[in-house]
């Protein structure tokens, strides 16, 4: 039994080494991952973020002035890769792998504290930069509040917000709900 396991382990190691050393895995950004590999990376990323963001305390978010500030931070730093309602990312963001996701569904995938952690610390080998040394903490919370409000925004809302006008009621309500959800 032990010998069989050792044999199987050695064969797996040899196959692994051949795949590694012969450069069989295509590292090109336009070659898509195999579904299994994608799933392992994605789930590993989710578990890691859940674990590391666990103890973050979320302040009250969603005041109109904070959302306007968040809109300005978003349009200066985020829309280039993530796009926005009705707005395409730049070509640099479009053809990256992994593809930077849209953030209008960020509230489905992430808790608010996790959005803060991701924005502040970035994600290795994904192209997501760490913003800790480039944005103030209050700007990071502002952009998190804005992203949390995005599900309630129409393309017209987004345009209004990023041109410094006021947010419609559904988008404000979404921001309040996100903040309240964290409090409870």
């Amino acid at each position: 039994m032990a010998l069989t396991l050792l044999g199987a382990g050695s064969i797996a190691a040899i196959i692994g080494f051949i795949v590694f050393r012969a450069g069989l895995y295509n590292i090109a950004a336009n070659d898509q991952h195999y579904p299994l590999i994608y799933t392992v990376f994605e789930e590993g990323l989710q578990y890691s973020i859940q674990n590391h963001a666990e103890d973050i305390q979320v302040p009250a978010l969603g005041a109109p002035a904070q959302l306007l500030r968040g809109a300005a931070v978003y349009s200066a730093n985020c829309v280039q890769c993530h796009g926005a309602p009705g707005i395409a990312p730049l070509s640099q963001g479009m053809s990256m792998q992994p593809i930077p996701g849209p953030l209008v569904d960020a509230d489905v995938n992430w808790e608010t504290r996790e959005l803060y952690w991701i924005t502040r610390n970035g994600i290795k080998m994904s192209g997501m930069p760490a913003w800790e040394y480039h944005l103030s903490d209050s700007d990071i919370w502002a952009v998190v509040a804005f992203v949390a409000a995005m599900p309630g925004m129409t393309p017209a809302d987004y345009r209004r917000m990023t041109t410094q006008q006021h947010l419609t009621e559904p988008a404000q309500a979404a921001a309040r709900t996100a903040a309240e959800g964290e409090d409870s």
């Binding site: 051949i18 590999i37 963001g93 479009m94 996701g101 849209p102 209008v104």
Partner: protein, 124 residues
């Protein structure tokens, strides 16, 4: 690389490719213009899969846009125009021209790329 090692590598590569390859259909359906195989690559380079689940492509379960697995069956695009290949090409290139205010932006897709992308989606 010597001959034996080369053969072993080739055999392994074949096994991996067969075992792990996605199942996207890359032959055009009858009456569909364009190159589905090139279309699948083109759609990843225009970030279609950032918002849509695309058949045959590894990706997240994302429901920002609707899943694109039933394009061949659908009657209308965005509830606005009949789902012909010509209209699908127009939609991919400039959704706002068909449905102003729609959350899907124009992604700067060329006509050739849009034809191939539509060919892939209509051949699933």
């Amino acid at each position: 690389m010597n001959g034996a090692r080369c053969m072993m590598v080739a055999a392994l590569a074949a096994v991996f490719a067969t075992a792990l390859a996605g199942c996207g259909q890359t032959r055009p359906a009858p009456g569909v213009q364009g190159d589905p195989e090139r279309g699948m690559l083109a759609l990843t380079q225009h970030a279609c899969h950032s918002c849509h689940i695309v058949p045959g492509l590894a990706g997240s379960k994302v429901y920002v846009g609707r899943p694109l697995d039933d394009l061949a069956e659908r009657r209308y695009i965005a509830g606005k125009v009949p789902n012909t290949q010509d209209n699908l090409v127009r939609w991919i290139m400039d959704p706002q021209a068909i449905d102003p205010g729609n959350a899907m932006p124009a992604m700067g897709v060329s006509e050739r790329d849009a034809i191939d992308i539509s060919a892939y989606l209509l051949s699933q």
